[in-house]
């Protein structure tokens, strides 16, 4: 019987940190979105009281569950001697609490998504959709779990990693995920019917379609994330180079997904639709850059750990962490800012000065995360170059390209505004990911060649 106490302890710690992360995120997002509802409600109409809090019930459910779990966990060990048995019991508690919060989050999303969508369309205010909030939360947690697992040298698919039927085990888990999302869809359909009675609406076909789309997207995103994680775990466990040709091709696909979103954005911006219509339409595709960004981060996490295991340059490892920091927290900050911006949506449209102010805030935040990325990238390539792992031929064009891109971006922020700026910024982010991926691929090849030469000697 497989029971590894070390893995169970580490999973407990990771679950505890995950609960904390999810709770903080839900509290912050919930507050910002609730303010959005209050400040954007059209004052000329009287709405039912339920309209004022329905849109944030997902965040309330996640936050309340998290706070209760954290409070119980805090008092769990009070007054008891701190020994091996208590440590094991605490770890078991946190694992169960983490599972509970995950299921409550999914159930809350299923139950409240149709209702929050109805409120949003009834009162016609632009807002960041509950779906985006949920997808952002799940991907943030997935990135943290992937990093934490790899940091502690434990694996998600431990039971099957050494089995020749690893692929089958992964498929079985994907099947379980499918069943879970079908349950979610079932709850959402039920919620739609309840909403028809409670909120007295007749938009049942639209709500059912929206629920179907939500759960299809959630299944696609979680299935792709889990499959990528499974492939990376297997490669990492067998000590093969993570950034091989096949995974590099997948990384390019991830970058292309982000490019697809930029293309959709460009089409919508030129379609003549109103800003509210554009925002509602983009909500359905907003998962593309979010998911693509986090999948890119998964590769970075595994490559960082692979690079660290070779015992290479400490500065390069710091560089990796800075690059990760720009992609993950930077992406999450960007998302929260867009939620914050929605609070003042009406006044932004009417007041050109506020419009410019938010444009500048967006600009400064993007510039800050880009500077963090740039610092990390320079450290990342300086180390290997110094150790002659990668030739100087890679350093000079990579540095020049980075400096030019940064200069162009700063110039554009001072000269351009509005929609054109959004497109240019997304384009630069794509280029940034592309040359980072290319550099990592070349570095991986160099490390492989270096290892082969050492073995031959």
């Amino acid at each position: 019987m497989f029971y590894d106490e070390r893995i169970e302890l580490e999973r407990g710690k990771i679950a505890r940190n995950g609960i904390l992360l999810a709770t903080l995120y839900a509290l912050l997002c919930g507050m910002l979105r609730w303010m959005n509802v209050l400040l954007n409600m059209d004052g000329s109409h009287t709405y039912p009281k339920s309209y004022y809090y329905l849109p944030v019930w997902f965040e309330i459910a996640v936050a309340v569950t998290g706070l209760v779990c954290l409070a119980v966990g805090l008092f769990f060990s009070l007054g008891r001697p701190k020994d091996e048995r208590l440590t094991a019991e605490c770890a078991a508690y946190w694992r169960r609490a983490g599972t509970l919060q995950l299921f409550v989050s999914l159930a809350a999303l299923a139950l409240f998504y149709p209702l929050s969508l109805l409120v949003q369309t009834n009162i016609n205010y632009a807002a960041v959709d509950t779906m985006q909030v949920a997808v952002n939360l799940f991907l943030l947690l997935a990135a943290y779990v992937a990093f934490a697992f790899k940091e502690r040298d434990i694996y998600f698919n431990y039971a099957a990693l050494e089995s020749p039927r690893y692929g089958l085990a992964v498929l079985k888990n994907l099947g379980k995920l499918g069943i879970l999302t079908l349950c979610g869809l079932g709850i959402s359909c039920r919620s739609t019917a309840l909403g028809a009675l409670w909120l007295q609406h007749t938009r049942i076909p639209e709500m059912l379609l929206a629920s179907l789309l939500l759960w299809l997207l959630i299944f696609i995103i979680l299935a792709i994330t889990y499959t990528m994680l499974s492939v990376l775990e297997r490669l990492s466990y067998e000590k093969r180079r993570v950034l091989s040709g096949a995974t590099f091709a997948t990384l390019l696909l991830v970058i292309l997904l982000r490019a697809a979103y930029t293309a959709v954005e460009a089409l919508l911006l030129n379609s003549g639709a109103t800003m509210v219509e554009q925002l509602i339409a983009l909500n359905y595709f907003a998962w593309l850059p979010l998911a693509a960004g986090f999948w890119f981060v998964l590769f970075l996490i595994y490559f960082y750990h692979e690079y660290r295991e070779t015992g290479r340059d400490r500065l390069a490892r710091v560089g990796f962490l800075l690059v990760l920091g720009a992609e993950v927290p930077g992406g999450a900050l960007d998302f929260l800012l867009s939620v914050f911006q929605m609070i003042f949506h009406r006044s932004i449209i009417e007041n050109i000065e506020q419009n410019l102010l938010f444009g500048k805030i967006n600009g400064w935040l993007a510039a800050f995360t880009y500077l963090v990325f740039l610092a990390g990238f320079v450290l990342l390539i300086a180390g290997p170059v110094r150790r002659a792992l990668v030739g100087k031929k890679h350093l000079i064009p990579a540095t020049l390209l980075t400096a030019v891109a940064l200069g162009v971006e700063i110039f554009l922020y001072t000269q351009l505004h509005g929609n054109t700026l959004l497109l240019i910024r997304d384009g630069i982010a794509l280029i940034r990911q592309l040359y980072l991926a290319l550099f990592l691929f070349l570095l991986s090849r160099s490390i492989s060649e270096g290892d082969s030469a050492a073995i031959r000697e």
């Binding site: 029971y3 106490e5 070390r6 893995i7 091996e84 040298d153 431990y158």
Partner: protein, 64 residues
């Protein structure tokens, strides 16, 4: 602190870390971390290791 006695006992029996891990029901990484001093096993796991290697707690885990 590294546990060289455990490593020696394992290699005497011609067991790899993975084989020992499978016998005991833990991961290869955990055996590796115990041998390299990166993880302190509980008494229960120590006993399982001792049974698998046919030695006593004193032989493998007592600090001299």
């Amino acid at each position: 602190m590294e546990n060289n006695r455990m490593r020696e006992a394992r290699t005497k029996l011609h067991l790899s870390q993975g084989e020992l891990a499978r016998q005991i029901g833990v991961s290869r990484q955990t055996i590796n971390m115990i041998e390299n001093g990166g993880y302190n096993p509980t008494i229960e796991l120590c006993i399982r290791i001792c049974r698998a290697l046919g030695l006593t707690l004193n032989d493998l885990f007592w600090e001299e």
